[in-house]
Symmetry: C2
């Protein structure tokens, strides 16, 4: 149990405050469900997002509601837990309170688990954001879907063939799993789903260009799998550009040094920055704003505070970086909860060990790569594995069933089910 600050009375039940209802925060709350603690989980949205499928919302295959679930619904049976829709603004570690919302209402804690996630980073070029939105929240996915679908609507109305070509060109910046999955999904829709519906534009002429600054895509995967994915993308017609550092993003395209790729639609899948909440914790941060945590995931100098998920940086097995992926966040959430339980039982805390269950990425229909260390899969088998794992980990029976039906529908009809453009009038991309 951490030292108590000078306060009047210690509450009978320790108050555990969790910031963030993502994979880490939810699993931390769940792991404390039978404990004699009062849990408050706050999030600035009302829903948990199944991040690995967010790109399918962005590419019109799934509806936002298919991959989200209300946080309070997930935790409804857990009587020691309350959920608040509130945005953490400041953490006061001396007074042990978190200030939320515009009113800066104070929520006290005895234990704090900080799991607010990350946003995308433009590496100091925030002026690029309006021209190349990233993909973290449901709103981001809706915005990408809107721009993706509107590009074809505009191309259909335009007479000038050069300008029309620019509307049929999509640049995706960043060759990680999100960039690869976005790039791989677009050709399928362009060539199969949309083709018969346009009278002036030939949607099969769609160009997708995946730009990666490093020497290869999917750096977190073994080299041979990444090569396989590169070939898969090439088969789909995606142009993969490695060793290409983006130096400018504007309404009419993306610059790579002196070269300009002319495109009216760009998406950003390169780099993350952690939540700004890290800077209230008095710990040293890495250059993406992540907290360098102790090996029990606590914040140095604050055994009562845990930073997890995209907010934390630490190494395991003495050397390897714990990756910022969903399974790691879930393991960290459960580990932080277990450390609190050990404190309450006056047992010593343990060291966090990351268990890598394997990595999966899909590259369009019937193609994927799977890395389980000694065993690797590619092609159709990896893709079926990918489908199975993602359906299995979805929250809620309704979501599993609806996603299964959407995928089956898409597989047999070559259609995507959610081609809805909303807020057409609101959408005026800058400089358009």
């Amino acid at each position: 149990m951490p030292d108590e600050p000078a306060r009047a009375a210690r509450p009978a039940r320790p108050r555990v405050l969790i910031i963030g209802g993502g994979f880490g925060g939810i699993d931390a709350a769940r792991a404390l469900r039978r404990q004699n603690v009062d849990i408050t989980l706050i999030d600035r949205t009302n829903h948990f997002i199944f991040q690995p499928l967010l790109y399918q919302v962005a590419t019109a295959a799934l509806a936002p509601s298919d991959i989200t679930a209300p946080i309070r619904w997930i935790l409804r049976k857990q009587r020691n837990t309350e959920v608040l829709l509130a945005e953490a603004r400041e953490i006061d570690t001396a007074r042990r309170v978190v200030r939320v919302d515009d009113e800066m209402r104070e929520l006290p804690y005895d234990y704090l688990i900080v799991a607010p996630g990350a946003r995308h980073s433009y590496f100091g070029n925030d002026e690029w954001e309006p021209y190349a939105p990233g993909l973290k929240a449901v709103e981001d996915a809706s915005e990408i879907r809107r721009r993706f679908l509107l590009a074809y609507e505009k191309a259909e109305k335009i007479e000038d063939p050069r300008e029309r070509e620019e509307y049929l060109t999509f640049v995706i910046v960043g060759g990680g799993p999100t960039g690869v999955e976005l790039s791989g999904a677009i050709p399928f829709i362009a060539k199969k789903a949309l083709h018969s519906e346009f009278r002036r534009v030939d949607t099969r002429l769609t160009r997708v260009i995946l730009v990666e600054a490093g020497p290869r895509i999917l750096p977190s995967f073994p080299e041979d799998l990444a090569q396989h994915a590169t070939r898969d993308l090439a088969d789909l017609g995606v142009e993969v550009r490695v060793n290409s550092m983006v130096t400018g993003v504007a309404a009419d395209g993306v610059s790579i040094g002196s070269e300009k790729i002319r495109a009216r639609t760009s998406f950003w899948a390169a780099g993350n920055k952690a939540s700004p909440l890290g800077k209230f914790l008095g710990a040293s941060l890495d250059n993406a704003g992540r907290v360098k945590v102790n090996d029990d995931l606590s914040v140095p100098g604050h055994p009562e505070i845990f930073a997890i998920g995209d907010l934390a940086t630490l190494h395991y097995k003495g050397e390897r970086q714990v990756p910022w992926v969903c399974p790691a966040a879930m393991q960290e959430g459960r580990f932080a909860a277990k450390s609190i339980i050990q404190d309450l039982r006056r047992e010593p805390r343990k060291k966090f060990h990351y268990f890598n269950k394997g990595d999966l990425a899909t590259i369009g229909r019937s193609r994927a790569i799977a890395d389980f260390g000694r065993v690797k899969f590619t092609g159709w088998i990896a893709w079926v594995l990918w489908l199975f794992v993602h359906i299995m980990y979805l929250v809620g029976f309704r979501n599993r069933l609806v996603v299964f039906i959407e995928w089956a529908y898409s597989y047999f009809t070559y259609q995507v089910g959610v081609r809805l453009i909303t807020d057409v009038e609101r959408y005026k991309p800058p400089g358009d």
Copy 2:
């Protein structure tokens, strides 16, 4: 065939321009699919909306994509038709062009079918709109859903019991089918779906007040069915206030004369006004801006222009007003198409006759009313009939299947599947 204006050459194939991809516009286009005409259908959105189920999107039971379909997907097999995402701004009946979008690009026509639908009317009190949004477009439904769900999130955070009560009070203005369906859906969600998830607020204390200016709700239904619906609503706990003319709407409630109903959330389902496009047609309009059309649905003085659906007003059987409902719009769309075909065949046009297939309205789970003239149903039978008819008329196999699953899920679990609040931060209701 209407008189040709002084233009250089008459095109080999008549150009039919349709404004609006709702029930009327889509059915007009479909009815012309085998004809020797070039059809252009324009809409300011990319999707057809199945209006009768829009209230279910507003109350979190269905996703927007479940009740919409891309217009170009619906018409994809019709090779004589092109679809453009474009907003009609002006109609120039002398030059026979429609000007669209900011650029005022001109689209020429030989025949014009104007089916732009309606918006809700605040009867000269447009300042009420921010406090009581109406329900016409998908964006409206998302906004209502956001306010409906956020009211509970706010109530959960508020300490003051009186203010909390105000957040648990919902006022629906207008006792037509939309107002009744909205009112009937809220208690089910409040009492069944949300109840176990809130720790401070008892969602069962939700108050729903349906305010109607006239002497009874559902004036388009026979009196006995409307009475039945009133009893059904009372059973659900909805307070029905008839003979109550709203005299003010603000952030903190709705005024009826000197009485103020204190409520933080109000929705508007009273009255429509037609699209402003009617005023370009040189015809006389009724006080809701609808065009008084000839009995072949053409605009007086313009046999080449048809106004249909919510834009048209006419009587049938010499006396009764054709109602502004989906089946009427569909019949009018097909009739306008047939009149064009008759012109091309140099046959005389006919008079439009509205065929009333019957009226249905649902009042929450397992309750509905159905009016087929001589035969009437109430209760569970009417409700099953309602379910069946609405599933049957949905566009697309995917939508039918997904809606069926959502309804089955909801029926057995007492849940609603789409409790997603997006754009929480964007939402700052005025004066809140």
